[in-house]
Symmetry: C2
Subunit: 396 residues, 2 copies
């Protein structure tokens, strides 16, 4: 009846909505996340550098003149970055050149200012470093030729890659954007954040935690709705929401309780259930299905705050695959995969260590304030030794 974690993961991956591709104006683009990827291959528009590029402020001379012993050079002019190319007319003279300038035609050696004295229109080499032809010259095409693949589709867009896109002239670039999501909080016990709850009520918080994690993972369009435990209201909302979102994530209402109406309502409205229940703690009652007609994916997360955050991170966010080394022995007897909140430390020995946080039970969401994420302890074992490594998921 209960699926194992890896089967659940596979089913979810098969059915998750594709990210939407749209062009982004690179000059205007706002906050792209590190989860967002290129939807196209990036190729160079021309050779790079596009010209023989001067790499130091100084003078450019002909290697042959320098190599034959000449150390004093008359200056023919100044070549700065952005100036059209110039030509050395006297092979025994020099041009003053600035970093980024086009190397003057007829020169093939740059000597930096630090090794020169310049007076009266003459540059004198005052430091006799060992030199070779093409010193401080960044040769045209030495980084790449025109039409070369620079980044494959699927690359995440970190800041150097953003700069490369700009340099190569991708003023519009096709980028994958996460689907439009609605988060639906269910439960008569829930009141608004700003409300003063009765002693038997609690404030709605799960959907805000989930939204925060989604935002940090690049989801820009995340709606929030609160629904009472009322089948009519749930039905009415669903019929609208499925037409306007690619992904609906419910918090609460999927357990065995008398007020857990969701799975039955979804079924009545034509949603195909793909699973209900995973052999995991927390998060056992998790539900997953697809509304084929509207191509909407439906997720039912348990109402418990720890469960809902763990399930979102484990199954829906694109996180780097990281392993952490357990600092202490853990025993967990039930035949379930155990997601254990931990503090994570990066050591000066290049290791990631993970230390279980003290918590009483999966209702103790305040204990998460001291955690950095959770590790995944496999179902088939019950003892986990200090020093063993397990997959670590960091909180977004």
């Amino acid at each position: 009846m209960l699926l194992d974690v890896s089967t659940a993961e596979r089913i979810i991956q098969q059915h998750l909505p594709n990210w939407r591709v749209s062009d982004v104006d690179l000059a205007e683009a706002g906050n792209l996340s590190l989860a967002q990827t290129l939807a196209q291959t990036i190729v160079s528009d021309r050779a790079y550098p596009p010209y023989h590029r001067v790499m130091m402020d100084g003078i450019a001379v002909a290697w042959s003149a320098y190599n034959s012993g000449q150390r004093i050079f008359a200056i023919e002019g100044l070549a700065a970055a952005g100036m059209p190319p110039v030509t050395l007319s006297d092979p025994c003279a020099c041009w003053e050149v600035m970093t980024g300038a086009v190397l003057p035609e007829g020169t093939d050696l740059v000597i930096p200012y630090e090794e020169l004295k310049i007076t009266g229109g003459q540059a004198t080499v005052v430091q006799d470093s060992p030199r070779r032809s093409l010193d401080y010259v960044h040769l045209k095409g030495s980084d790449c030729s025109a039409g070369q693949e620079i980044m494959p589709a699927g690359s995440v867009i970190n800041s150097p890659r953003y700069g490369i896109l700009a340099a190569l002239g991708y003023s519009q670039v096709a980028i994958c954007h996460p689907p439009k999501v609605e988060l639906i909080a269910t439960g008569d016990e829930l009141v608004a954040i700003a409300a003063s709850p009765e002693p038997y009520q609690i404030r709605s918080s799960n959907v805000y935690a989930l939204r925060s994690a989604l935002h940090k993972s690049g989801y820009a369009e995340v709606g929030i709705v609160h629904l009472p435990d009322d089948p009519a209201a749930i039905r009415q909302h669903y019929q609208q929401a499925r037409t306007q979102n690619q992904l609906l994530i419910y918090s609460g209402g999927v357990s065995q309780g008398k007020r857990d109406y969701l799975p039955q309502i979804w079924q009545e409205l034509g949603v195909t259930q793909l699973f209900h229940g995973i052999a995991q703690r927390p998060g056992k009652p998790m539900w997953f299905g697809v509304d084929q007609q509207y191509q909407t994916v439906i997720v039912g997360l348990p109402g418990n705050p720890v469960s809902s955050l763990v399930c979102l991170h484990r199954y829906f966010l694109k996180l780097p695959k990281i392993w952490g080394k357990l600092t202490e022995k853990v025993v967990f007897i039930p035949n379930l995969t155990y997601f254990l909140p931990v503090q994570c430390t990066y050591t000066a020995q290049g290791e990631i260590t993970v230390q279980p946080v003290k918590w009483q039970n999966s209702g103790d969401f305040l204990a998460l304030a001291d955690s950095d994420g959770f590790i995944e302890l496999p179902q088939e074992r019950s003892e986990f030794r200090a020093g063993e490594c397990f997959p670590f998921y960091g909180w977004q």
Copy 2:
């Protein structure tokens, strides 16, 4: 003359503008980054759980009745989450209870549905598990008492903490926001991303890479300006910009070149230079100063794309302190701290390994497409062995 890296870092930290504190509406808040922190201490508004909380769907009974051997209980009613508290009138009866409900007065044991059969208004315990008083009861105040500190000021706002803020009723919460920044590209060689450059021109890309990194680190207000290598234009812009920003980051114009006007112009306009030059590669010409009158911090990054990104990440972004283990020997002779672009791998042994990327020189910015960040190799050494660990800075 050249500062060492740690001295430069200390001077920068002493002068960087404070992050601005402002209240965020938690229900409305958009994208907070993982670099953003709480500007206030968070305390619990009441005990948590705020009542004896039922942890499983099932029935609640008196332990004394169960313990004396009773296994069949008449059902007095249904207590769901969000309902005001109810009381067991007959100590030998039970209430059906849903997860999250208030434990009925007079009961102190929850038995889950899975271990029951319910027919004709009676619940029969059909599975004889070992039980203790308070099973599946999350005791009032067991997570925290009222007025207890839950999160200190300075905590980063990850998703569980966001949820906790909501649960505790912080509908408005004081959060630190990064300063308002302007990025200024200088250089006559630069054209717009959408332009077709002449062979001797390049597209402006540094400021877009820098903005992308700042965005990912929580900077929401990042302006971009392009200036020619023209002292009058630079002066005019500066006199405006310093009144409207807390941090001005220039790209280019701080080297020894004839068109590197910035340090002199800043000095003329009253900026106090705190340093010019760091014993590092890349990024040696970096400049740093403060305009005391306007309380504006001025940064001059080298125009080289690799240098400017490295300097931004090394000195200005709040990144986790991570060490990576070098996969191969590196030799670097100059008496400079060496920032070396690397690929980073998380191993199943809980390690972070870093592999230098092949690059020709710090002008080869395309090579960064294959890197995940850079490591810092200390100035006082020239050989770095495979297996040694060094600080790693990941690209934002």
